[in-house]
Amino acid sequence: MDYIRLISVPLVAGAVVYVLWLLGRSRPREADAMPSGVGGGRPAGSGLTQMSAAIAVLAMACTLVLAVMMFRDPPAMVARANTTVDLGPMRFILAFRADALSTLVVLAAAGIAFLVTLYSVRAMAEHPRAPVFFAWVLWTVAAVLTAALANNYLLLVVAWEVATVGLYLLVSMGHPRGRAGAMKTFAILGFADVCLLLGVVMLVHTQGVMNSLSLIDKVGGNDTATPVLAVAYVLMTVAALAKAGAMPLHTWVPAASEHSPTPVFALLPAALDKLLGIYLLARITFEVFAVSAPLATVLMVIGAATILLAVMMAMIQHNLKRLLAFHAVSQVGYMVLGMGLAAYVLAVGRASPDGITAAQAAVATVAFCGGLFHMLNNALYKGCLFLMAGSVERVTGTMDLDRLGGMARSLPVTFVCGVVAAMAISGVPPLNGFVSKWLVYNGALAVGSGLGMVCLVVAVFGSALTLASFIKVLHSVFLGTRGSAVPEGDARQESGWMAVGMVVLAVACVGLGVVAGPAVGRLILPAAEAAGIPVAGIEAAGWGGLALRGGAGLWEPSTATVLILLGIVVGGLVYLYSRALRVRVVDNFVAGEDSTSDELWHVSGTHFYETIRRLPVLRTLFSDASAEAFDPYRLVGRYGWTLVEQLRAWHTGLLAVYASWIIIGLVVLVTVLALG
């Protein structure tokens, strides 16, 4: 019952909002003779928008409370027999389970969804179809919760696809120019969804009567040494990675980012879709399948490649949302790398005659916890960064980094939250991003293979590039002289509704970093155990620290935090001292021009890394990548189109040709049937 209650709250609220919209819309529309088009005119009724926003916030708050309750006290597994739909070899049944992994995902999803809804109250206020937006957000959240709690493969597939459709419809609610991005999103994710479907169907068919209810938890350890199971695993992994946005199926993330409404992007591709994708990856890799070492290696390579390549693409972007989207891709790499390392170690352990040793279990635990913790952390700081972008966009109306600048004065809260989130994503201690990356690094170090070392180097390097690219962002948006799109004056332009979401997320970033030990111990380790990892590694130690069980300390945030605070205090003293000295301040003139003029002396950060872009080999790679030469969607499109053109060329429209096809077909049929 708990499950149904949790899921039906957003579901019903979404339906209520939608019905209200349908009822409320018809009156004003018939009243005015000139119906308002997309994006034009006043919203159909701003009272309606406010009411739907209120319902949405209330429903999300209820969902969050229920999610917390479920996390604290997970209900028992249920399979509601009266809902069975018998599909021969498979069953569709409302079966749920709440173990530590799914409740963690549910908790994170409900939390982020609540904050983003709060933020949307202001951000979507002017949208002509805001109630529809809220309805779809609520439905999508319901689908995500269902997918995370589902214990039946078909239920999982259905919820998974509903989440895709929700994303598609929400993205297409953005700017009209975003329709190509919306279509690309739907095409790639739709492909991934049918992959998931096929993988699930193949898996269940091989399990046969043992799993006649198609329960996910029923049979584990399907060895991917069997070709059928390996294919099933690969198909399901494709779905998980595409949803999470890992390479090479990541290209929908930047495409969808540019013109979709900012809350949509902060909610789905940046947070909920990642949670869902990594959740599925963890489930299938450790619980459902016993992944073989080669497949785990592929996972590691995908993770490492995603980290590096995506962050390099992020560095050269000029559009803030697109840049953040590439970071959203890059961060997935850490999660996939963590999971891949853990799977690799376990596979090596299983293959050896004496099974998985304690040391191997410890390495796997560390790497897995790193990946999973990173999933949680990423949802927090990436959500915060997107909300920051949305806040900037509300004031300036643009996301073009060349036209922004000097906004720290008018948006101080946004600036501080942005700095915290940027530090967190770059892995600066003592913030949360550092802890999870640190765990992944430890895993890569201890995995004991050359590839692990390569992955480690790539991951650390990627982290450095992330920091580099965020220095560019912070400079271009908040520092320097005023950009051309920034309104005059230093008046505060913060919106209270929008600030709440950012502040909460930023505080969470700091909090999870400083008290990493209890956070990992309470949130991540039970989830790792639930996912099927032989937990033997880390435990909370000391004041917020982490230690290998019975071994050396992994990370001690208390000392580090004290030292960092000390550094900040010293820096502040130096700053105050310099302010205390009397310095003569005069206006600057360069070549007879006033150097404070914004137009002349605006230095945008977008060219910080031009040198890297122009390096001999990288230059061609970057220009190819920017032209989407490596985009599978584009490649399939191009070659597919050639095929389609060929087929079209055969359809000449000549009756004689068509008649001859029929005759040839008939001859073939007669021959086959008569001889066969």
């Binding site: 070899p89 498979m90 509903v162 297409s172 095409a187 008649a659 008939l666 049937l673 066969g676």
Partner: protein, 545 residues
Amino acid sequence: MPLLVAIPLAGGFLMPLVARLTGARRSAAALPILLAAGLLALAVWLLLAAREPIVYWVGGWTFPVGISLVADGLSRLMVVVVAVISLVALVFSVDYMARFTSPGLYYTLFLLMLAGMNGVVLSGDLFNIFVFLEVAGIASYALVAFGTESDELEAGFKYLVLGTIASTFILVGIALVYNVTGHLNWAKVGEAITAAGGPTLPIYVAAAFFLMGFGLKAAMVPFHAWLPDAHPSAPAPISAMLSGVLIKASGVYVLARLVFSVFDGDAGLGWVLVVLGTLSMVLGGLMAIGQGDFKRLLAYSSISQVGYVVLAFGAAAVMRARGMEQAAVGLAVFGGLFHLVNHAVSKSLLFLCSGSVEYATGTRQLDRLGGLGGRMPVTAACLRVGALSISGVPPLGGFWSKLIIIIALAYMAVRGHWAFYIPTALAVATAAVTLVYYAKVQRFVLDGEPSETVLRAREVPFGMRAATLVLAVLCFATALLVVPAIRDRVVTPATEIVLGGAEAGRGGRTITVERKPAPPPAQAAADAPAQTIRLQDGTRQGETP
């Protein structure tokens, strides 16, 4: 039960009279709508009333000279589908056809086509299938060319020529079967073949002729070439009828009947259906991506979706011949029938929406449309529902039928024959392709900035909106067919007929014989060509000749 054929046939002959009375006014539609509503009520009653097959001998004659009409689970399901789509298409026609002259002819042909389809799905013997096929076929040839523009006439002519080739071979096939077995009745032919220990060479040749003939009616690749010309050329409600039900009633239904009831699920024929279905599914889908004309895209999509249905039936035949579990075989058949229903509903909806779009904007070129979501909210919402349903998105009906087909195919691949991995993978890939070209439709028609043509567009009249809304609701409602209680009532009788093979096919017992001869179908067939000649005054209003 004979009323199902007699009502539209009689209506067809009454229609010119009524049209004379009403003139070109909209009230001309009253009679066909009333008749179609009556048919729907009758068909639903038939579906829900009895479970045993009902056999009616026309004129009271029995074997060997009598003509039998048989309503078993499969026929009843088809009759309901035909009636629903016809009623909605007629309601849509009221406003849509106001732009054309001579509504009397239009409704006459419509009712004749309806009579033909009902006749095909109810007839108990091969020759009458042929007769009714021709009734439906000739009416549809004329309807395709109804606009009498050069494109439409060309499309109608191609359709006529290719359709006639198909009919000829069907007739030759029937002659062959009669020559070998001495029977025309489904059940008797099936018995004769079983008694002879399986099909012999001439029977296989006849089977090849049937596959080609009915394959052409069902637009299987490589016999599909008429469809992408014919379906877009017809007026939108007729496109909806052609794509929604005609290709199924006169193509897929007969193929299923032949393969299962007459040839007892012969494995060879099953494999042929699998190959034809896979080819149609893939090539139709690929061709659909490349289309810039809205209705042409939908037409190719019909080829692809009917491919799914045929593939499912073929797989069921192969699985049954290999002795796989009844549950899995039944699932394949159920998936095929379910997809047939879903496709009928959603494709009719899409064609009607394309008609609305053309009505409002005057174009069906995708690149000249855009941003309709803001201008025509009801049509846009219906179009979205139809597109999502056919692309297989939960919780709409299309998702479940595609899911079931894929489950059944994968089961065959994993547990049965390895070669099934190919159609399974292709079915999944085509599902993604379908999603892509319907994403394209949504992208170019619904989303984006309104183009110049769209800015002038206004929402279509109430009748057209109502028709599309009904079908959009049905897109959701068909998902309920997956619920066991409803499935057992509606689809399972049909599944059992297909599954039972030759024994469960035709035959059955003779029940009350009514002295009410239906009008001789041959006469209808003879009358229809005469009407095609009179069609020439069917020019559109508002266009100077």
